[in-house]
Symmetry: C2
Subunit: 267 residues, 2 copies
Amino acid sequence: MKSGLGAGGAQTIQRAVSLLREVSASRGRGARLTALAEAAELPVPTAHRLLAALTREGLLERDAATRGYRLGSLLYEFGLAASPDVDIRRLCASALQRLASETGDCAYVNARSGRDALCLDRREGSFAVQAAPVRIGNRRPLGVGSGALALLAILPSEEVDAVLESNARRYRRHGMSVDRVRVAVEATRARGFAVTTGRIVARFRGVALAVGNGVNGVPVALSVIAADERLDAPRIDRVVALLRREESALRAALTSELFSPAKGTLP
Amino acid sequence: MKSGLGAGGAQTIQRAVSLLREVSASRGRGARLTALAEAAELPVPTAHRLLAALTREGLLERDAATRGYRLGSLLYEFGLAASPDVDIRRLCASALQRLASETGDCAYVNARSGRDALCLDRREGSFAVQAAPVRIGNRRPLGVGSGALALLAILPSEEVDAVLESNARRYRRHGMSVDRVRVAVEATRARGFAVTTGRIVARFRGVALAVGNGVNGVPVALSVIAADERLDAPRIDRVVALLRREESALRAALTSELFSPAKGTLP
DNA sequence: GGATTTCTTCCACATTGTGGAAGTCGTCGT
DNA sequence: ACGACGACTTCCACAATGTGGAAGAAATCC
């Protein structure tokens, strides 16, 4: 088989992690074998064997009813130990709170993770009733969704190209295409913030703004998602103003955080 | 090589996870290659290759200064997505808070994870000044430390035997032995709670109590750690009384939680 | 500055992982 | 209820991948 890029000694680990990422991209109640195999570009029996091994080790769990794979408790446990010194969620908590209560809609923090956007945290406003909302920890390809688009648009163009190429297959599965994402990136750059149409998630739109140079080197974006009829042009402007305000507040908080990093559980 | 138990198709994954567990057992600033290889019972070059692959994938990070391996940010990200429906940390938060403030020492929640005890959360009291405290997410072999001992002692004897055998090598690295742990288990069962001498972590003692049938099927223990001169016999009794109180409160909270599970970020 | 320990690279070998094909199971639709 | 389709699992011949001893760099200690 082709081995692709200069790996030194671990096809298996690369494949396994690739499967884990695909599982954590799946919303709802677990991802099925065939879908995972396809997404990770692996033959079904191979994916099956790897998934079984990951399950045996506790990195995955299998929903008895659905037969779908979910991230396992061992990953939660590792996550506790891997908590970063600068806790982005804690830093963004109050910003999210204000955004959600002032707009009445759902406010999100997304971070870049490789070629994915990762939902770090969210806060629901009073109006928020979404069918299958993005949950904390979920991943999507950079460019798909408002937060993910804002994150993609701030990357240097050559990196954008690399991400687009790498995600080409995945865009298709989201009903997108490389070209459409590229156009959206250009529009986002010109506009200064990201908006999505109601097409990606049916009947919902998002507005997003990337945070300066990110948090601790990690690019981060704030976004607000609402039913599309609630987000007309004037309202978008108001939401963007709120996002701008929170973005500044966050940058200020970051500066002071460098001198007094708090760690551990919230009081 | 001997393959040991009935694995179906993934030596590599088993070894990789084993290394991850060892990394998350290491306190301080990262675990070194040789130590990890020894702990995971792997030849050094093999461990090196696997660790390099895990690092490349983002499951591990390497401290440039120490050359030690730490859990990587991708594990933190997976951890977010893998957060359990019943959040043990949230349930125990107030119990920890009271224990820490009333004793002035360090209060911990530990859970069982395979043959390990896992530090789920901790709260420092006013007196707590530990040199190398156990951090959230750290692992130790079941039986080493007060919380870990309480967790081991509530297991059925045959399971205790299995754990003891499996951990034999690791006890040695903690200056313990299977026999000493077994004796401690008997003593813990007779006493109804676990205490440790100041020998495991120099100059510190712990008192621990397991929580009923655990939380959501996961065995859990509450513990208080203090400098050994602070923990004389009468004070131990008082701490145990506090632990008993919190243990009951926790069991009560568990019952009501079953009917109104809260999820997501705290308000 | 040399000795010791720790880490990294190398490479011949075979164990482990591979994936096509075939079998089994679960789930639809009628 | 039953049959037909798709999804999951098992099987196994094959070789690519992972393996680990040995030797070569780095870093660290004395």
